[in-house]
C-alpha cells in the first residue's frame, strides 16, 4: 500500500477522552495544539476538536468577561509591570486569557526599552508611569493631551527625554475608585478560568465517567466521536 499523508493520519492512534455524560469518545486530535489554541483564544482549541458548543460557550464567556472588566476599569486595569515596587501581579492571572492580554506585555517592554514609549505612542494597555520615570517627548505630549490630570508641569524637561514627576497609577485609582478593583477582578478571573478551559482542551472533561460509561466504552458502544 502506498504511503500517503492520509494513510499516516489514519494509522496514527487517536487520543480520546471519555464523556462523563454518556460514555462516548471525544476525539482530542492534537491535545497540545488544542491547548495552545485555547490559550491564544479561549474556546478555539475546543472548536478545533469539533466541540463547537463548548468552544462557543468558552469564547463568549471568557472573552466577554475579560472585555467587560477592561471596560469597567476604564481600559486601565490590564497592564504589565515588573519594576520593583510596582509589580503588577494581577497580570499573571490576566495573561491566562491569551492574546487579548498580550498587548500589555508588548507595551511594557516598549516603554521600558530604548524607545521609552509604548507602541505607536498609544496609551492602550500601557503601564502607568512611576515617579522619576523617563519617557519620550512624543509620549509625554500624548499623555498631556489625553489625560486632564497630567499637564506640562507633570514632567521635568530632561532633553531628549522627559521625566515624570507624579505617580500615574494613583491618578487612575483616584479617578476610577472601586471600578479599578472590579475591572481588575473581572479580567483576573477570566484569565484564571481560562486555565480550566486550556486543560479541557488538552485532556477532555474533568468529570469522572461512571462505571457504566467505562463499560460502554470498553464494549465499543461509543464509537461516535464528537
Amino acid at each position: 500500500m502506498a504511503v500517503t499523508p492520509r494513510n499516516i493520519e489514519n494509522a496514527r492512534p487517536r487520543i480520546v477522552a471519555i464523556s462523563p455524560d454518556d460514555g462516548s469518545a471525544i476525539d482530542l486530535k492534537n491535545p497540545a495544539l488544542a491547548a495552545l489554541l485555547s490559550w491564544c483564544v479561549p474556546g478555539l482549541g475546543q472548536l478545533y476538536q469539533g466541540r463547537t458548543y463548548k468552544g462557543r460557550l468558552f469564547m463568549g464567556a471568557i472573552l466577554g468577561t475579560f472585555l467587560a472588566g477592561l471596560w469597567l476599569g476604564g481600559g486601565k486595569v490590564v497592564y504589565a509591570s515588573w519594576k520593583p515596587g510596582d509589580t503588577r501581579w494581577a497580570y499573571v492571572c490576566q495573561a491566562g486569557a491569551g492574546l487579548v492580554a498580550l498587548p500589555a506585555a508588548v507595551q511594557s517592554m516598549q516603554i521600558h526599552g530604548v524607545a521609552k514609549q509604548p507602541l505607536f505612542c498609544s496609551t492602550f494597555m500601557a503601564p502607568p508611569l512611576t515617579p522619576g520615570q523617563y519617557v519620550s517627548r512624543a509620549y509625554a505630549d500624548v499623555l498631556t493631551r489625553s489625560d486632564p490630570e497630567i499637564d506640562g508641569d507633570s514632567f521635568f524637561d530632561k532633553p531628549p527625554l522627559k521625566q515624570f514627576r507624579g505617580e500615574q497609577v494613583s491618578i487612575w485609582q483616584r479617578r476610577l475608585g472601586r471600578w479599578f478593583d472590579i475591572g481588575t477582578l473581572y479580567t483576573m478571573l477570566a484569565g484564571m478560568l481560562n486555565v480550566l478551559v486550556i486543560y479541557d482542551a488538552f485532556a477532555g472533561p474533568l468529570g469522572t465517567p461512571t462505571d457504566e460509561d467505562r463499560k460502554a466504552h470498553k464494549e465499543g458502544k461509543d464509537t461516535k466521536p464528537r
Partner: protein
Amino acid sequence: MIFSALVAGICSGSFPLLFAQLVDRVPGILFGLPLMALASLIFAATHHEDPAEIRFAAIHWAVWLGGILGLVLAAVLLLGWFA
C-alpha cells in the same frame, strides 16, 4: 450560629447598622454575581460534554457557590458588626 446572631441583631435594634453595612456592599455583590455565574458555567462546562448536562450542572454550581459565598459574606458582615 450566624442565623441566631442575625436574629439577635434584629431584636436588639441594631438592624439598621447591619443593613447599612450590607447596602454599602451592594455594588460589590451586584458585580460579583456575573463572576459567580461565569465560574459556575465554566466549572460545569469543563466537567461535562452534553449541553443539557452543562446547563443543569451550571445551576448546581451556582447554588453551591452562592451558598458558600453568601455564608462567607454573612460571616464577614456579622464579625464587622460585632467588632
